[in-house]
Every structure is written in C-alpha cells, then in structure tokens.
C-alpha cells in the first residue's frame, strides 16, 4: 500500500472523536460494501436486470456511512436515494437492496416498489419519499413524538443542495426549530441537483448560512471524511438528546456520476470530476487507516474486500433466481 503523497487529499480524525479499532474497520467495511453493491447493481443494470433507474452515491459514501454510524438503537433515519450506505449501517442486507432494484418478490416491498423505497420500523428506517424535501416535515414529526414521550432519541434525515430550495425544507426545519425537536438534518451538498449547478440553485456560498435564520445550530463538515462526519453527527446527536433543538449539517461533497445511471452528466466540467476523484473518501480513509496503523496488513484489507465480493455474488445469484411478484398480490399492502 502506497502511503499518502504530498499532494494527495488527506483526512484527519477530529480530536473530539473517540472510536475503537473495530468501529474504524466497520466504517471501512460499510463504505466498501456501499460502493461495491452499487458497482454490482451497475452490472445488473447493464444486463437489464434492474427495473427502473439506478442512482449512485459514488464519492458520497462517507456521508451516508459516517452519519448512520453515529446513531443509536431507537433512533430513526430516513434516507434519500443516494443513502444506500446508511441503510446498510442500519442493518439492511445487500440482498434486500438488490432484490428491490431488480423488483423481485423476495424484496422488502415484495417487488412492488423499487430501489431504496422501503422502510423498516425494527431497523429505525422511515421509507424515503421521491418528492425531495418531503421527508423533513415527516422526520420533524418523528422527532416531535420522541420529544413528547421524553425519549432520548433522535431523527435524522438528509437533503441535497437542490432540495434546500423546496417548500418542505423550509417548513420542516422551521417547525423543528420552533419546537426544539431532536432532528438532525444533513445537507449533502454534492453541487449538482440533476443538471442544476449550485450557483443556479442558491445565491450563497454555504447553505449552512441558513441555519441562523431558523435559530438552528449548524456546522459545515468535509463530507468525504468519514471520521469528521461521524464526529459531527455524534455531537449533533448529543445536542438533540440534551434538548437543544435541531442541528443542521452541511456536508461538502460531490456527485461523481450522473443524476442516475442513464445520465452521462455531460454538463459537469471534466476537471471538476477529476479533482473530486482525487478526494475519494474510501481511498483517503484507507490511507488514513494505514498511516495510523489501524489496518494491520494489506492482507487484512484484502480479506474484507474479498468477503464483500462473496456476499454480493451470493446475493446476486439468489436475487436472479427469485421470482417476480405474483400479480395476485398487487393490491396487498396498498393501504394499512
């Protein structure tokens, strides 16, 4: 393993972050699982096995994994389309996500809804809503319930830079701030909302400038540093549980693929993509693991990678052998 060169992007562990070796390796495991699962889905997509669109979080894995890892049992998380990694951390199996994307009957929605559009009360997951922003009032409601019942728990959800321009973002975070609800809102500023660049989305440099306008605590974090994300969300969680109200976090990152697999993102300058490729969160974290002697050997890391590949291959085999939903169940679970 080559250690960091002078011009390479490097990450540091925030001084306030206490974390043991097992956790450090788990963070690596989940980020790689996130990436390799998406790569495997990319293959299935090209083989016409995926029903509907495929959305990648390439380059944003640290955001999903670091934030979800900061949560505790009993907390609730609502992902967006690029937070597949958050679901894996919350205990969703890769096969569940693969079966969802391939619309098979063994998926959490029995093949009746796609991709990450499913929830799990046991795992503390609220199903995402396609209409971007709509999750914020929903999660404010979840947080209100926690507050009303004095539960030492938090609700966490995500929004993109584009989603901050929506009605629901504004109404949801304002409501949470007025009622001091334990809500953590992570703005994943990946600089493109489909093809709309940040400069056509808002007239400020940092979206966190909005936090003060809601009376809400806010912080900016390097979204490509999984340790910094874990640290900021843990501290946000502590604030929320202490009754200090919601926390807004702006994670600076970059969407390295198109909006979805069908989009070649020709509107994104190549040099921007190249610059962010050098800031790859997994590569940077791996360098950190070696530089800080967390990873004992290259074999140890290779072993993790091999295990993940094996899990994904077994999952793909099982999914492709599974049936599509039977038409007779079409009307089941439509209403509660």
């Amino acid at each position: 393993m080559k250690l960091s060169t002078s011009d390479a992007y490097t990450i540091e562990r925030p001084a306030s972050l206490a974390v043991d070796r097992t956790a450090l390796l788990e963070l690596y495991y989940f980020m790689v699982l996130n990436r390799k699962l998406e790569e495997r889905l990319g293959v299935l997509y090209r083989q016409n096995q995926v029903v509907g669109g495929l959305y990648s979080s390439l380059g944003q894995e640290a955001c999903s994994v670091g934030s979800a890892y900061a949560l505790e049992r009993g907390d609730f998380l609502a992902p967006m389309i690029r937070n597949l990694g958050s679901l894996l951390v919350r205990g969703v199996r890769p096969i569940d996500i693969m079966a969802q994307y391939c619309a098979r009957a063994i998926s959490p929605t029995q093949g009746k809804d796609l991709n990450v559009h499913f929830g799990s009360v046991e795992n503390g997951i609220i199903a995402p809503i396609s209409v971007v922003g709509a999750l914020i009032p929903v999660m404010a409601g979840v947080a209100l319930e926690m507050k009303m019942h004095d539960k030492p728990q938090v609700a966490l959800t995500y929004i993109g830079d584009g989603g901050t321009s929506t009605t629901d973002f504004h109404e949801g975070i304002n409501f949470a701030a007025v009622h001091k609800l334990p809500l953590i809102l992570i703005i994943e500023n990946n600089q493109y909302a489909y093809s709309t660049p940040a400069r056509l989305q808002f007239a400020v440099t940092d979206l966190i400038d909005r936090a003060v306008g809601y009376g809400c605590y806010g912080e900016i974090v390097d979204g490509n540093n999984v340790l910094a994300v874990l640290d900021v969300v843990r501290r946000a969680r502590a604030r929320c549980v202490a009754g200090d109200g919601p926390v807004m976090i702006e994670a600076k990152t970059f969407r390295r693929k198109g909006h979805a697999e069908h989009d070649d993102a020709g509107y994104v300058p190549r040099e921007l993509l190249a610059a962010w490729e050098k800031k790859d969160p997994i590569d940077a974290y791996l360098r950190w693991l070696f530089a800080n002697n967390v990873a004992e050997s290259e074999q140890e890391i290779a072993g993790i990678n091999t295990d993940i590949t094996a899990i994904l291959e077994a999952a793909a085999d099982e999914v492709l052998a599974a049936p599509f939903p039977d038409p007779s169940i079409a009307r089941e679970n439509v209403y509660g």
Binding site: S165, T167, H170, N174, V178, A203, R210, A211, G213
Partner: protein
C-alpha cells in the same frame, strides 16, 4: 428650534428624508387608511353592510404608505391583507374599495369575491391571494418579466411574519436571489399570526436574520416610524431598480386589532396593546410634524375632516351601487380575452 432638531436628527439617521410636501401626502394617506378601515370595521361591518370578514392594518399604516410612496407608474405591487395604503396610493378610489367590501358590482372584483381579495392591473396591483406567502413567487415572476423585457421597474411584495413560515415564501425569495431580480420583500412583523405569537412562529427574534441565508441584504426597521420606513424602502427599491437584486426589509410593528373583525384577540396580553398604543404611527408622525412646524393641530383636525368626507362620499356611493346580477356568475372565472 424643535423643527430643526428633529429634521437634523432625521438627516443624521437616514439617507433619504421626505420633503414637507411628501410628509403631508404620507400623513394624508395614513389618515385615509385609518378612516376607511375604521369605517369598514367599526361601523359598516357591525351594521351588517359588509359582505364577509374584515381584516385591517390598524397601527401598521406607516408601512404600506411609507413604502408605496416610492413606486413609479409601471412598478407592480403584491400587497398582503393589511396593506390598504397600497391600494389607495396606487390610485384605487375609496368609492370602489367600499363597493368592494359591500359586495357591489362596481367593486374591484365586481361583487364576485369578498373584501380584501382585490387587485387591479390597471393600477398594477396584483390581487391579494388568501394563501399567505403565495404572492412571493408571483412578485418574483413579475420582477423576472421586468428583467426579460429590459424594463427598469421593481416589484414590491408584502407579507406578515406568519407567512414567512410558508414554503412559497422560501421558494420565492430564493428564486429572486439566485436571479438577482428587482423585487423588494417587505415584512409587516406585527407579532401575531392570527393567534400564534412570534415565538411559536420562529425560533429567531428577527425575520431579517433569514436574508443572509438567501444572499440578500436584510434590514430591521421601526415600522411605526414612517420616516424610517420611507428611508429604508427607498434604499431597497433603489438597489433593486439599479440591478442590485432583492432585499428583505422587516418592519417591526403590532397588530392593534384581532386577526379580523370577528376576533377579540383575547389571547393578546392587554399590556401589549397599551404599550403599542403609545407608539401609534399616525399620532407619532403628527407630533413630529407639529414640532417641525410643518403642521398645526388645527390643520391636522382639518385633514381628519377631509378624510372623513372622502369616506362619507365613498360609503354613500357604495350604498347606491347594485349587487351583481345572477347571470354574471360565470364571468371572469376563466380568461375571456
């Protein structure tokens, strides 16, 4: 001496100080607003001569008058329900306003919509939309049209602090900021949104704190001081007109009535009314003008009688107007060219 002192104090505080003629014009309109709203709310409504509810801006007259005074002929305004001064200053006659409140066919909506749901594009006043905050994207759109046409005009948009919690307000401000549109957003922060006090509406003391989050200037102004309103509005409008983009101007004021004529506002601590009564924008301005030697108390009484006469005439005229004919009911529902 007193007049010079007041004037120099104003000049020290403000970039733009109205001349005497403008001051008298503003006082006239503030008094006219108070008179027409008092007449509607405290007399005609109680006599059963008004159709529907009545929402007034008592105590907030300085805001609509001190801002709208800067409008040019082709500027466009999207008022809220407590901005009667905007309608009067845009040249909509008290007669037609009274007819509107009485549901008569010569009212602005020809008797087919109630009271303050009025507008008139002949006067560049966009009809008030009940869904508060909805006028924000509309005003931003008007400003976008000005830019696209190369017109040097501005759009003015008014809302209460309650409406700032609405998504439309957020979307409209953000859009205007991104595209640097010539629009000014005025907030009548009157401390209550129906019965919701400010602290249950937002977790911040000032709406203007939101302005930096959109990348636009924000300012907090005493909304009961018409000279301060005049100055702040002039600067914001000039900035927009010169291509500098939108601003958010927050006027601190107080709603000296219930939400509407049917609401006794029992939820508002009485001492707040007492406190704000002392800050009445009309009484305050009159005192300043007398101190400056621009006016005498006798002249103020005369101005009051002039306003009363205008409204007497409007009411008399309104009473004589017909209600809409039943066969007109489908007219103006869709655009007919």
């Amino acid at each position: 001496m007193a007049d010079r002192q007041t004037l120099s104090a104003h000049k020290a505080r403000f970039a733009h100080v109205p001349d005497d003629k403008t001051k008298l014009e503003m006082l006239h309109y503030m008094k006219l607003v108070r008179e027409i709203e008092d007449r509607i709310e405290r007399k005609l409504y109680r006599q059963g001569r008004i159709v529907g509810g009545v929402y007034v801006g008592r105590g907030q007259e300085a805001i609509s008058v001190g801002t709208a005074i800067h409008m040019l002929q082709d500027d466009v305004v999207a008022p809220s329900h407590r901005d009667m001064g905007v309608f009067l200053m845009r040249g909509i006659s008290p007669r037609r306003i009274i007819a509107q409140y009485m549901g008569r066919s010569t009212g602005l909506t020809r008797g087919r919509d109630g009271n303050m749901h009025m507008g008139d594009m002949n006067h560049n006043v966009i009809a008030f939309v009940s869904h508060l905050g909805d006028n924000v994207p509309v005003a931003a759109g008007v400003a976008l049209a000005f830019v696209q046409r190369g017109q040097k005009n501005v759009a003015l948009c008014y809302n209460g602090e309650g409406a700032t919690s609405r998504g439309d307000w957020h979307e409209g401000l953000n859009f205007a900021a991104v595209h640097k549109l010539p629009v000014v957003f005025f907030i009548n922060n009157n401390a209550y949104a129906y019965s919701t006090p400010l602290e249950l509406q937002m977790a911040i003391p000032d709406v203007a704190m939101r302005a930096p989050g959109y990348g636009m200037p924000g300012e907090i102004v005493d909304g009961n001081d018409i000279v301060a309103v005049y100055d702040s509005a002039k600067r914001a409008i000039d900035l927009a007109r010169s291509g500098g983009g939108p601003s958010l101007v927050e006027y601190k004021t107080f709603r000296m009535t219930g939400h509407s004529a049917h609401d006794d506002a029992g939820y508002v601590p009485p001492e707040l009314f007492e406190e704000w009564k002392l800050k009445d924008p009309i009484v305050r301005f009159e005192k300043e003008l007398v101190a400056e030697g621009v006016l005498t108390t006798a002249r103020i009484d005369e101005m009051q009688r002039e306003c009363e006469k205008i409204i007497d005439d409007a009411v008399e005229w309104g009473e004589q107007q017909p209600f809409p004919a039943a066969e007109e009911v489908t007219r103006d529902v869709y655009y007919e060219g």
